[in-house]
Symmetry: C2
Subunit: 386 residues, 2 copies
């Protein structure tokens, strides 16, 4: 590691990526190619109602595969949901897993995959590189536009005893295939288009600022920002497929960036908040993002021109206002897309802020923050975002 | 496919990438991680003389692996060399392959891997998707800065009966691990630094113009161009590690781009030239590139601003001269780095041009050319580049 200049050594890993409108119809051939017979399909009830589960099941059947359908998961997927899915997986003799949905369905699919190969409780695998046996073949199909779980080496699960989220990080849990069909966004409610896209925005910015960023991750982070600057607001307002497709692409690029560069204090803070209040992950990130950028700003100044350029702005002799401009561009984008402001609007309680700061300091995302932090600084960010 | 706008559906695949100065010392742990015991190390005599083979063997031994060393290959690797390597692989009971060198050593390693799993003659696998059985674990370590073979789904082999090069294209032949140690460039002769870097330049431009280009490949193509514009000339002239490292990175980015977007008529033309005359691949590409760009220009105008921007230029109201500017920027870069001009300087014979154009028209790279071509047009490019 070279401090400010980032790691000198790096790794870059992404799964096979398949992308295109209408391609969910090919999920069957993807699962069959991986050698499965009995597919465990993990999704959720919203995706089911929108008709995508039926489409996926039809494709899986047409490829000669049997399907076990499982949708007993909720947003911010819970440890006991994963464990119940695992028992179902075993009971039905499944041998390949398809996750279809947002981050919750996909992270649940990862969790079930981990248990099916390694046994135990899902909490046993928190932290990095605790998984020793390879998981079953896994295809992940996002139906939102921000999580990046479909390309990432992460799963985030809610610990319902401790009331916190924990992160599982392992190269083993990147899927074999990431299959994105941007048409699935056509049925995603407007608020979720917005809140998942700002999650991608936060992923891109935190990955770009990360001390583990490299040339390979930066190009993806910046491309995500370019696509978001171009299409995010219009996608939320008009819901046209062209713009939604740009958001799908932004999610992919941001996912490739953060899976390899990791994240920073924004996600370190949003994980305990999500664990304690079961609130929308994208909303939390959107609220925190401006203060996170202000906090990181002094140590990432050399990367700001690239960030602004990707967001469609240019510094021309007004370097004195570069910080204000950077924060304003991001705030304007968030506001125009209808993101909430203020953690209090989500139900966060002022008396919990201290505890949240302490928990955030334990989160793995702190390790790649460009600015060394402590509980006091994190508390300050929470207060200013309150 | 949507014509000018590129494919609407796309795939993107890259191997695990490990990058950093001094990391060739970790080739042993990479090979061991893939499950091998008896390593078949494919390299060449230049790399051996520079000391890198010893370093690799030491690392492999320290990881408890046995090593069979094979270096009976030449630039533009020949079919019979691959087949002889395969016999050696079998005779010594090897079970994992490490390719260390330029495109020739790495493509030879791929060829030996194909035969060891699938049998037959290497020519049986020409074209796309002819490989049915998975190859042994494969680690590729480039010691030049252009081929991209270490991340690509391609191998290019010389057919010594027909005197032409053929391309093998299959997702199966991307390696498990691409391990780049930029320090290996410190011992690469200046001319090879230049000629392999311009191969990366040609990869990036042809991939960027390809009809199979996507957002995922474009960011990598443009990043390769940015790095080349920044560091290519200085790297050739001064041979400093900082600049050489940029070239290594450019090669990786360009490789990720062309492995997924494929190439165009530049490589379609350079393959038969390499087959007939056994000349330096980078030199041929450098000579052809300006005429290829002029030829493609009318159908890629919407991508030119991005290209120029990556090369450090900007169109500001001088769109009338955009084509001339584009070609000049590329020619200036090639000239400043000392690339040759004129196919005749390589020993290409004027009476062969017709045959070369006919052979190029059969090359797989023609399929992703942005401009539909024919033998007459290809002959024109050869004549203008003569």
């Amino acid at each position: 590691m070279t401090g400010k200049g980032g790691f000198q050594h790096y790794k870059f890993e992404v799964p096979e990526i398949i992308f295109g409108r209408g391609l969910l119809r090919q999920v069957g051939s993807c699962a069959r190619r991986l050698g499965g017979k009995q597919v465990f399909l993990v999704s959720d009830q919203g995706v089911f109602k929108a008709g995508w589960v039926d489409l996926a099941i039809k494709s899986l059947h047409e490829s000669g595969l049997n399907v076990v359908y499982f949708d007993q998961i909720t947003p911010n997927p819970k440890d006991y949901e994963i464990e119940s899915g695992f028992r179902e997986y075993v009971a039905k003799g499944a041998d390949v897993i398809v996750g279809l949905g947002g981050g919750s369905a996909m992270d649940a699919a990862k969790g079930i995959a981990i248990l099916s190969a390694n046994g135990g409780r899902i909490g046993d695998y928190r932290g990095s590189d605790k998984i020793h046996r390879p998981i079953p073949p896994l295809v992940l199909c996002p139906t939102t536009c921000g999580t990046g779980s479909d390309v990432s080496q992460f799963a985030v699960i809610n610990d319902t005893e401790q009331l916190c989220k924990f992160t599982i990080m392992s190269r083993c849990i990147a899927p074999d295939i990431s299959l994105t069909d941007p048409e699935t966004l056509l049925t995603l409610p407007q608020h979720h288009v917005g809140s998942t896209a700002v999650d991608a925005l936060a992923h891109a910015i935190e990955a770009y600022f990360s001390i583990a960023a490299s040339s390979l991750t930066d190009v993806n982070a910046l491309q995500a920002l370019t696509l978001l600057a171009k299409s995010y607001v219009r996608a939320v307002r008009e819901h046209r497929i062209e713009d939604l497709e740009d958001l799908s692409r932004a999610s992919l690029h941001a996912g490739m960036a953060f899976s390899n560069a990791l994240l920073g204090i924004g996600h370190a803070l949003s994980h305990p908040i999500g664990g304690l209040y079961d609130v929308n992950h994208g909303d939390v990130n959107a609220i925190l993002l401006p203060e996170v950028v202000k906090y990181d700003y002094p140590v990432v100044t050399e990367k700001i021109a690239g960030l602004l350029n990707a967001l469609g702005c240019e510094l021309k002799g007004n370097e004195e206002f570069a910080e204000e401009m950077t924060v304003s561009v991001i705030e304007n984008l968030l506001d125009a897309g209808g993101s909430p402001r203020g953690l209090r609007t989500l139900g966060v309680r002022e008396e919990d802020l201290n505890k949240l700061a302490e928990l955030a300091l334990q989160d793995v995302c702190v390790l790649t923050s460009p600015r060394q932090t402590d509980a006091e600084d994190l508390l300050g960010i929470l207060k200013r975002s309150f």
